[in-house]
Amino acid sequence: MRLTINGEAREVDGQISVAELLEEIEQDVAGVAIAINRNITPQAEWLTTLLNEGDEVVLFRAIAGG
């Protein structure tokens, strides 16, 4: 199944959850927020939200700033 993650195309096996995707791309979850097709998916729903073909996933992280 094809997804876009932060602008990069990616192939994933079958339907996976948001939590599984994060594990697969080896991204730390602290301070992270995720939007799927411009809708923010709350952390409480990461285990249960399944990704679909063509989904545009964007990961954001809290970083240093003024």
Binding site: A62, I63, A64
Partner: protein, 256 residues
């Protein structure tokens, strides 16, 4: 003690987390400053790189986190950034900052007011970053912002309180705390803001880019304390002409 929304602060110095040479130095400076509130930004993760972990040292330091919406050019973008930040950090506090022009980073008043109104409705504690416009400050207060953050001078300029006269008006008229944010380039600027009656100041660049950020953080802490004590003690009136400190007796004249 300073109260903003549901939080009280002993320190009236807030700090940014940007521009430090590394997270360890950032953490040391933040500790040295005594600050209890620091700002952060939200960014799209670069999947090919490991970002510096700055969140762990901040959580360890026990400071309150204030995510900003820096990067947003419109109210809609700011709303999106604020909601991301709330998810990412688990706080409903947000520093609303919308500055589309990259040269001067002046905050857009119209987008800011629009976004503030919606964010307050969405349950955020909104601290809007604005030019020192007394009318705008009042409008933001009226839509429910819990503080206002007028600038002293452009972000990172270190120019001090270029907006001094208007900060005075805002401070006089505000019913919410006033946090002077941006352009505070020296401890003397911070003290000046506190002497005017500001409730707090937010400093980032001046501490982070100093060759000795820890020492500079301490200096700012002391300046903010000094300024506040002076304000509460009551500053003397200014006068155009001299007012003698001792009686003007003619002690050198021969007795008649």
């Amino acid at each position: 003690m300073l109260t903003i929304a549901d939080k009280t602060f002993e320190s009236r110095l807030f700090s940014g987390t940007g521009k430090f040479a590394n997270p360890s130095l950032m953490a040391d400076a933040i500790l040295a400053s005594g600050t209890q509130l620091v700002t952060m930004a939200m960014k799209r993760v670069d999947l090919n790189r490991r970002d510096d972990d700055i969140l762990s040292p901040l959580i360890k330091a026990g400071v309150n986190l204030l995510p900003n919406t820096s990067g947003a050019c419109t109210a809609d973008e700011a709303l999106f950034a604020a909601r991301l930040a709330r998810e990412a950090l688990g706080t409903n506090w947000v520093k609303l900052e919308i500055h589309p022009d990259p040269k001067y980073l002046m905050p857009d008043p119209i987008e800011t007011l629009k976004a503030a109104e919606q964010l307050v409705k969405d349950g955020f504690v909104v601290l809007p970053y604005i030019h020192a416009d007394p009318v705008l400050a009042k409008r933001l207060e009226q839509v429910g912002c819990q503080a206002v953050m007028p600038l002293g001078a452009p972000i990172g300029s270190n120019k001090g309180l270029k907006t001094r006269d208007f900060l005075e008006i805002i401070i006089e008229q505000a019913s919410v705390p006033v946090v002077v944010d941006a352009g505070v380039g020296a401890p003397s600027h911070a003290a000046e803001a506190m002497e005017l009656g500001a409730d707090a100041v937010l400093v980032n660049t001046a501490i982070a880019v100093s060759p000795q950020p820890v020492a500079m953080a301490q200096a700012f802490q002391q300046a903010v304390q000094a300024g506040r004590i002076a304000y509460e003690a009551g500053l003397g009136a200014t006068s155009h002409q001299a007012v003698a400190s001792s009686p003007l007796t003619a002690f050198l004249d021969e007795p008649a």
